[in-house]
Amino acid sequence: MPFMPVKFNLQKRVKLAQGLWMLYWFSVIAGILIFSLGIFFKIELRKRSEMMDNNESHLVPNLLILVGLLACGLNAFGGKVCHDSLDPIKFSKWKPMLKTYLLLCCSFNVLLVLVSLLCFLMQFSVYLTLAEGLSYAIRFYKDTDTPGRCFMKRTLDMTQIEFHCCGNNNFRDWFEVQWISNRYLDMSNDVVKDRVLSNVEGKYLMDSVPFSCCNPGSPRPCIQHHLTNNSAHYDYDHRTEELNIWTRGCLEALFSYYSSLMSSIGVFVLFAIILESVDMAGLKYLSTALETMAEPENPECESEGWLLEKGVKETFSDLLTKLKTLGRTNQVEGGDAPEANT
């Protein structure tokens, strides 16, 4: 008893072929979209690679690019088969490959499911990489003369301006590092000497933040220095002042950006999976409808199409038996070989 059989006449077959051809072209566009999303994601990771200590994992974007290309290729082939399906001569050329093609599509769908899952799970890895990378970035902010780190200051400043954030978790992270290079500190000055000696590591720490932490929406000119000293500024209370500098941490800001990007890509890949499954079902119906024509010479005859030749349970048990016989043949061959040797 075939699984979900449907009767087809010529008109229905033609309609199915045309509809499926159109669907395959939508799937090609979806494949192109996945490819471009992969490239976009790769570029975004590269752009802020310094913030992630240059060791972020490019697995997800690379997989997306590969999957996008595969989708384009498979769907273009499927579209071509559909286009030729109404001409018996052309279709007979593709007929033998169809079974393998459908199996390929099935495994491709499994791959898509895997990619979609990765899009959601790899967010944890991105979070950890960002946390580590940002703490290094803040530490290397002042090293504008060290090769390999000269642009860290600029990158971090631009990130803080663009993402409206300050520091790793909040602005107090800047109080714990020396973010002014020693080249610009007058070591003969008493104030400077006192500050440097006031902590174990001999760092010039202050309760100030870089200019990129400033919030343009503040009604008063930005207060960057002596942030915790209320008396240093007129009419200023650091506990109630909210708009002066960005209060959000860059870890949170960057992570929410990347996680929303990855979640959207994951959702889109799920849509692509549904589209691919519909394509597969349609092609199966079309191929079975064309194979079971009552009179092969008369194109206008009736035929029947189905999803599976037998019921789901029977197909499954068939598959298992096939796998078992494959295994047994190997064993038999293995048994024959030692016999031949002896």
Partner: protein, 343 residues
């Protein structure tokens, strides 16, 4: 003697009609492009309207939007006519309107050319609007408590950050105005009182700039205050310090941004004009070739298509005569009406 006559048989006519139909669809896309460019330009002007003193001229983007809409509609109509041109019955329906349509197209093309010219010329009034608007913008920077100006500070800061500029002509413009509000100045402090007393207008002037002037590429943390005082900062010489704050003036930066946008739009409008001229010429050939079939009943007969029925000079004198006779006709009508009223 027709201008640029071309012989057509059925096959050639069909090919011409198909090509012109195709070109009309490109022209529709071009019309959509002009419309979207007009919208984009309008949005960009609105975004920075505060910096232009809220009296920037929206004439050019409105004109572009109008031209885009008209282009879309006449090109859709032209495409429909081309599509029907191979079916004599359907074409007979459109035939009477074609002459007016083609004259309208020529007029529209001239208008497109004028629009393109305007795109290049409107840069000059924009310069003046920007200069005035930015000067006022800087003056109102501190008025974050005055209704209508509360967001000037934020707009100006965001603009300086985005366009990498400082002040109107350069950063020294900030030295000449008070950009710190009186609400945040301690008038009991001697230093503040001295500064205010030191100039005629009683303004708190200082040689400092807002944080948005800072250049992130500078190797040292930004020096915003006491910029002309070398001894206030270690190893600092304001004459040689290049990367500390943005050197460019915002008027320059904004003008080059808007100027570039307008030049690009102008160049694209010129390309669209050329496309429109092409489709008009094609339509004229389709119309003329279908109007003088050697044998009207036989669609496969030969015909001749041309650009103008007579030569340029003759067509021009014809138009002048027509206009004169129209003028005379209305004069005669007026004369008759006057005679009637008198008698």
């Amino acid at each position: 003697m027709a201008l640029l006559p071309v012989k057509f048989d059925l096959k050639k006519r069909v090919k011409l009609a198909q090509t012109v139909w195709f070109m009309y669809w490109f022209a529709v896309l071009a019309g959509v492009l002009v419309l979207s460019m007009g919208l984009f330009f309008k949005i960009e002007l609105r975004k920075r309207s505060e910096l232009m003193d809220n009296n920037e001229s929206h004439f050019l983007p409105n004109l572009l939007i109008l031209m885009g809409l008209i282009a879309c509609s006449i090109n859709v109509f032209g495409g429909k006519v081309c599509y029907d041109s191979l079916d004599p019955e359907k074409f007979a329906k459109w035939k009477p309107m074609l002459k007016t349509y083609l004259v309208f197209c020529v007029g529209f093309n001239a208008l497109l050319l004028v629009t393109a010219l305007l795109c290049f010329l409107m840069r000059i009034p924009m310069q003046f609007t920007l200069a005035e608007g930015l000067r006022n913008g800087m003056r109102y920077y501190k008025d974050t408590d005055t209704p209508g100006r509360c967001y000037m500070k934020r707009t100006l800061d965001l603009m300086q950050i985005e366009f990498r500029c400082c002040g109107n002509d350069n950063y020294r413009d900030w030295f000449e105005i008070q950009w710190v509000s009186n609400r945040y100045l301690d008038f009991s402090s001697k230093e503040v009182r001295d500064r205010i007393g030191s100039n005629v207008d009683g303004q708190y002037l200082m040689d400092g700039v807002p944080f948005s002037c800072c250049n992130p590429s500078s190797p040292r943390p930004c020096i915003q205050a006491q910029m002309t005082n070398n001894s206030a900062h270690y190893s600092y010489d304001h004459y040689t310090e290049d990367l500390n704050v943005w050197k460019r003036g915002c008027r320059d930066a904004l003008l080059s941004y808007y100027g570039g946008m307008m030049s690009t739009i102008g160049a694209l409008v010129i390309l669209v004009t050329m496309l429109e001229a092409g489709v008009t010429v094609g339509m004229q050939y389709v119309h003329s070739s279908l109007s003088n079939l050697a044998n009207p009943e036989d669609p496969e007969s030969e015909s001749e298509g041309w650009l103008l029925e007579k030569t340029v000079k003759e067509t021009f004198t014809d138009i002048m005569d027509k206009m004169k006779s129209m003028g005379k006709g209305s004069k005669v009508e007026e004369g008759e009406a006057a005679v009637e009223t008198v008698s």
